[in-house]
Symmetry: C2
């Protein structure tokens, strides 16, 4: 699903289509990194020099609330955003902060959780924390 298609879906829910939002979403979908709001800001600024950080946050929160992206927070550092919200998990290095994707058949636990707790599940997050090979070598 591409950015324009997603924004069309959102239009039915009263969310307006703007070129800034298109640029933000396109970047999130195409990049394989897990950018911070600041990184998204700098990237979008190349196309829209007048864009503000407030708009980035506004859009990121809107997309998160509608389940199109995932926010990954780690307490001490700034949040990272993942445009590939489904079907993959993360391995996070506690030393250097690197986030590696981990592809694997989806665990079928979502429906179990939904049934057991009565939650309406919209997203999931599975992460393993540890020390990456590079950092292990250095210590």
């Amino acid at each position: 699903m591409d950015a324009i298609e997603i924004l069309k879906q959102l239009k039915d829910q009263g969310v307006r289509f703007t070129p800034q939002r298109q640029a933000i979403l396109e970047y999130l979908l195409e990049t394989k990194t897990h950018p911070t709001a600041e990184e998204v800001y700098h990237h979008v600024k190349a196309k829209f020099p007048g864009v503000s950080l407030g708009t980035i946050y506004n859009t990121l929160n809107m997309l998160k609330e509608h389940g199109y992206i995932l926010e990954l927070s780690y307490g001490d550092m700034s949040s990272r955003f993942d445009g590939n919200a489904k079907n993959h998990y993360h391995v996070v290095c506690l030393n250097c902060g690197k986030v590696v994707d981990f592809h694997r058949p989806l665990i079928e636990m979502e429906s179990e959780v939904a049934e057991k707790f009565g939650f309406e599940i919209t997203g999931e997050r599975l992460e393993f924390y540890g020390i990456c090979p590079d950092c292990r070598r250095k210590n």
Copy 2:
């Protein structure tokens, strides 16, 4: 494992035993909620009226770095701390922020990840996000 035992283990690593730390850790181990730093602060303050929020953070970070507690960050709201770092997962309400425990046999993916990526895995986090029954009722 209780608070005193954990603090004894930490003493071997040069971490000093203080009554404030004991109170913080005891609260984290006994409570079934996932308190924020602020909540820990208010609880410990009942016993030690002079305690400061800085000490709470100091201790929480120390315990996290030694792997005794887990920090759960959610971007917009403050972090929550979990004294039961192993063998359970979370279901999080995106509307009210409630965190419910989800007990289930551990997924045997850790060794797979360790092997595939060369990571030394020290922790994990599995969460499902959605809207809890209470919030669904209200909307």
